[in-house]
């Protein structure tokens, strides 16, 4: 119970990943499935 539980919106998650230089590969369809 004392652990944080910090849900985020998908666009926030995407922005965090993009900020680190990570991208979602649309070509191979492995992005969100």
């Amino acid at each position: 119970m004392s652990e944080p539980n910090l849900p985020v919106y998908f666009h926030e998650f995407m922005a965090d990943a993009a900020g680190a230089g990570l991208t979602f590969s649309r070509r191979d369809g492995a992005s969100t499935r």
Binding site: M1, S2, E3, P4, N5, L6, P7, V8, Y9, F10, F13, D16, A17, G19, A20, G21, L22, R27, D28, G29, A30, R33
Partner: protein
């Protein structure tokens, strides 16, 4: 729903038994209504092979599998490393966790199973050494939502630093707005357990006070609360008994 089922509207509501099945033919002007028992409803059938081959999602998954890095010597993985050890005997697995006990348990399990290609360490992700290596697969399950914000800021840069070219990272997280529902329950539980949030420290203080022979305000309140609880239970039992007797 797969092709061929688009024109079927089913009503599975429990309040309406037998269930009403409305099937709307494409060439018919009014719906054909059939009444069947629930247990007679047609079972879901797997789409045919041709339907599967024409499914975009399945095709994308197949293409994704084909394009992923093939397991080879040097393939590494973070977290949950044991599950694929048998199928990837030439791979190398590295796992770390901030909690020492789960890591100790995992180390025991790996040792018992004789797995030599798994390295498990207790580590703060902010202190991951830069020479840890590059990984074809990085898995961070749940972690993203379970750590404080200042630690979370290190997750993506860490992955970017250690992910090999053409590698794949899997990061799961609790997502909004759906998680508002879970958060409501979580907040309620936190509110009702706020008294025991710091139980070990409070227990220590009370034990210290008891040894010193001091009756703390807390002890007085606890005794009063227990008295109140006993009275409540007695009344509840009486109420239950009365209720059972009258109905």
């Amino acid at each position: 729903m797969h092709p061929g089922r688009h024109n079927a509207i089913r009503d599975y509501s429990l309040s309406d038994t037998p269930a009403t099945v409305v099937e709307r033919d494409s060439d018919a002007t009014r719906p054909r209504v059939q009444r069947r028992r629930v247990h007679q409803l047609p079972r879901h059938r797997e789409p045919s092979r041709s339907a599967r081959n024409h499914s975009d999602a399945d095709g994308a998954r197949r293409r994704a599998r084909r394009d992923l890095p093939r397991p080879r010597d040097g393939v590494r993985r973070w977290n949950e490393p044991g599950a694929h050890r048998a199928t990837l005997p030439d791979a190398t697995f590295v796992g770390f966790d901030f909690a020492a006990r789960p890591i100790a348990r995992a180390q025991r399990m790996a040792s018992d199973l004789g797995l030599a290609n798994i390295r498990l360490t207790q580590l703060d992700l902010r202190e991951v050494p830069a020479d840890l290596g590059s990984f074809d697969y990085i898995i961070a399950h749940g972690l993203y939502s379970w750590i404080p914000t200042e630690v979370r800021a290190h997750v993506m840069p860490l992955i970017a630093r250690h992910l090999a070219p053409n590698g794949v990272a899997f990061v799961s997280f609790n997502t909004l707005p759906g998680c508002h529902m879970r958060r409501a329950v979580w907040e309620m539980l936190r509110y009702h357990t706020r008294e025991i949030a710091d139980l070990p420290a409070k227990r220590r203080r009370r034990a210290h006070a008891a040894r010193a022979g001091v009756s703390t305000r807390r002890a007085v309140k606890t005794r009063a609360r227990k008295r109140c609880a006993r009275r409540f239970v007695t009344q509840a039992k009486a109420t239950t008994h009365r209720w059972l007797m009258t109905t």
